[in-house]
């Protein structure tokens, strides 16, 4: 482990795969998934593109669902770390959260009324203005450290964990709540369909016949804690952020660079920061959206850089949770390392000869103590975390 490794002392997650991290892991290892047409909103598309909604969850009406999901995940993560609001008092605690939808002034009914010449009630705008994800956490837990909402599209969650870790490394914080959150909504749903990258059926990452993504929603929070702070509390690290890398393709607004050079730079930076050789990587939790372009670039890059290293996409269980995805998948990566096995890559059936590699077909044992979790995003952003096991019994 490198000197810059940042302990993870707690994890929390909520998504369609489960209401807690343990529930998610259990359902994934059982191979359960349940993409369905949206139930929380209606559309007029002739085809009902399936999504992964979080069932049986309602947040307080004064907050966006994104913020409510985040608060749920943060509560689980803090409890896992043995902390509560009182335990955070007097500490320099930051909030670094990724999102996409959760920060946009895009309330459709308000905008419809505004465009029609009416003066709609301002509550929807107030709700948006009080739901900035990082600010919500800071308010809910009385945090006094840096507060940052990252809006790097689909790599936001990974970037938030990586940048949150850098706050610990720089000595800016004793503790950081880092993660991501995003809710499903009509506008995003319509937007992805308009780009022709939504699948008409359940998604199948890395499969030869993949037809696109299924959207999802959820949140995950990682409690990052300075080593000395963890020692003061006489706690052990559940895992470590060993390294982080990011880059921009500088190629196209919505398509990844076909040569994977940007992703390669991000993987290289994360592995170098972690001091990891390819042989030390147990597995890669890939972005694996199930879109033709993403999976081709990602599969080919993994085949080239990390041949023989098992990889999977968990989006077949969760859908693409956008700004939350990187954080959710980082949590899954840690939980998989702890269990010494990874779930089968849901939806994968037929190898794509164009990729040169295929994800795991079955629940698969893994042995090494470190893994990568990576995200690619619109705008050409690539972000990679190197995560390692901790010493918590």
């Amino acid at each position: 482990m490198t000197a810059g490794a940042v302990p993870i002392s707690g994890l929390g997650c909520i998504c369609a795969a489960g209401a807690t991290l343990d529930a998610c892991m259990e359902s994934m290892f059982l191979g359960r998934r349940d993409p369905r047409p949206p139930r929380r909103f209606s559309t007029t598309h002739p085809l009902a593109y399936p999504v992964f909604e979080v069932p049986d969850f309602e947040g307080p009406p004064e907050l966006l669902r994104t913020a409510a999901l985040l608060l749920r995940a943060a509560g689980e993560a803090l409890a896992d770390a043995g902390l509560d609001r009182a335990g955070l008092e007097g500490l320099r605690v930051g909030a670094c959260i990724g999102t996409t939808v959760g920060s946009a002034m895009n309330n459709e009914p308000f905008c419809r009324a505004f465009r029609s010449g009416a003066d709609p009630a301002m509550e929807p705008m107030d709700r948006i203005l009080r739901s900035n994800p990082a600010a919500v956490l800071a308010r809910a837990f009385g945090l006094t450290g840096p507060c940052q909402t990252i809006v790097n599209a689909c790599s936001s969650g990974t970037d938030a964990v990586g940048l949150g870790a850098s706050w610990i490394q720089a000595g800016l914080c004793d503790l950081v709540l880092a993660g991501g959150a995003d809710e499903l909504g009509r506008i995003t749903y319509n937007g992805f369909i308009s780009m022709r990258i939504s699948a008409p059926g359940p998604c199948s990452p890395f499969d030869r016949d993949r037809e696109g993504l299924n959207l999802g929603e959820g949140a995950a929070v990682l409690v990052l804690e300075a080593p000395e702070q963890l020692r003061r509390r006489q706690r052990r690290a559940r895992a470590h952020v060993l390294g982080y890398g990011s880059s921009c393709d500088a190629y196209h607004p919505t398509a990844p660079s076909p040569d994977g050079a940007g992703l390669e730079r991000a993987i290289g930076e994360a592995m170098a920061a972690a001091g990891l050789a390819p042989s030390a990587i147990a597995f890669v939790n890939a972005h694996g959206t199930s879109t033709p372009d993403n999976d081709r670039v990602e599969g080919q890059t993994l085949a080239r850089l990390l041949p023989g290293v098992p990889f999977l996409s968990t989006k077949g269980f969760t859908g693409h949770t956008l700004g939350a995805a990187g954080a959710i998948e980082a949590a899954f990566t840690v939980a998989s390392l702890e269990r010494g096995r990874i779930p089968a890559s849901a939806g994968f059936r037929t190898a794509d000869p164009d990729l040169g590699a295929e994800p795991v077909r079955e629940n698969t044992p893994v042995r090494a103590a470190a893994a990568l979790s990576q995200s690619l995003a619109f705008g050409g952003n690539n972000a990679v975390l190197a995560l390692g096991l901790g010493d918590r019994p």
């Binding site: 946009a104 002034m105 003066d119 301002m122 006094t144 909402t149 937007g191 780009m195 995003a377």
Partner: protein, 337 residues
């Protein structure tokens, strides 16, 4: 580690470029226009300082601007101006990091996206407007325009977006991830934001302080390289938090964000130059860098009681709910390191 501000670029109600911003600083303000906002109860007049991004033609062929919205055009223009000011426009930007802050993102394009749904139905959702509505679109556009393949980050924290993003830029440089960062902030006065301003009294927390509504973009090129060109100034500190804001120690303090009891009584607001906008802290930073640049003829209004030009300037942002951002700049002849 010494982090220098090598160049600044800005477009806003005052005009375009460091020269126009310096002139506005000397004049103490910019005449605002009156914008009539339609509401159900009749038109409401608001004072506004609008930005004109048409000088982007100098840097980007018009043909290439066809799919750029106003938000992205302001971003690209201010960023190119900052690089030009630093003498770095033609450099290889492969290791350049890009950090962009925005309080609300491209609200004009977001409204256009929703309009496409309202007018044509769900099946007619505009894919171009959907992609353009993503907050990180302008940063991505900059990276493509410049060939910047370093890390790219977009931050949205309302009033504290720019201070928060600046902290990230500073960390990247300190940690050696990159040796140059193009940092900036952008916000636009779209129909929606103008409407919210017209009804600001009905909002629980209005988006920004009172005063003429502003829009535009301001960028700085930050560097840890041994640059050939003399820097504007040194970025000594960039912090954010929600505890008591650190006391400003500089000879001159610029304040943006909310009006708060307890704000430094010496603090000066530059709202009259570029309006009230979440991007204001980045404009303050650009203005401070201009005033600290060697050879700048500092306007009398910014000199101390003895007529001396400031050697240090602090840019303080308050969000009205306890959050703060503080950036400390020093001239190259003053504090260093």
């Amino acid at each position: 580690m010494r982090i220098t501000v090598q160049g600044v670029g800005a477009v806003g109600g005052f005009g375009c470029g460091a020269g126009d911003l310096a002139r506005a600083l000397a004049q103490g303000g910019t005449p605002a226009e009156t914008l009539e906002v339609a509401t159900a109860r009749g038109p409401v007049a608001i004072a506004a300082l609008r930005a004109d991004a048409s000088p982007l033609d100098r840097f980007v062929p018009r043909r290439s601007q066809r799919r750029m919205d106003s938000f992205s055009r302001m971003t690209a223009l201010a960023a190119c101006l900052a690089l030009e000011d630093a003498g770095a426009l033609a450099d290889d930007h492969a290791r350049l990091g890009v950090v962009v802050a925005s309080g609300f993102g491209a609200t004009g394009t977001t409204m256009a996206l929703i309009d496409s749904i309202i007018e044509g139905g769900d099946a007619c959702t505009s894919p171009i407007h959907f992609a353009g509505s993503l907050h990180n679109g302008p940063a991505s556009g900059l990276s493509i325009l410049l060939g910047a393949k370093g890390p790219s980050l977009t931050v949205s924290q309302f009033q504290l977006s720019a201070p928060s993003a600046l902290m990230a830029a500073r960390l990247w440089l300190e940690q050696g991830r990159v040796d140059r960062v193009l940092f900036g902030a952008v916000d636009e006065l779209s129909d929606l934001i103008a409407y919210l301003q017209a009804r600001r009294g009905e909002l629980e927390r209005p988006p920004g302080p009172s005063g003429p509504c502003g829009e535009g973009a301001a960028f700085c090129l930050l560097s840890t390289r041994a640059e050939a060109r003399e820097p504007c100034c040194i970025l000594e500190r960039a912090v954010t938090g929600a505890a008591a804001a650190p006391a400003a120690t500089a000879g001159l303090v610029f304040l943006s964000g909310e009006d708060c009891a307890g704000a430094d009584p010496r603090a000066r607001r530059l709202t009259a130059l570029y309006g009230a906008t979440p991007a204001a802290p980045a404009f303050d930073l650009a203005a401070a860098a201009i005033l600290l640049r060697q050879g700048c003829d500092c306007p009398p209004d910014f000199r101390d009681a003895r007529g001396r030009a400031p050697e240090t300037i602090d840019c303080l942002t308050l969000d009205g709910a306890g959050g703060y951002g503080l950036a400390c700049l020093a001239g190259t002849g003053a504090r260093s390191g």
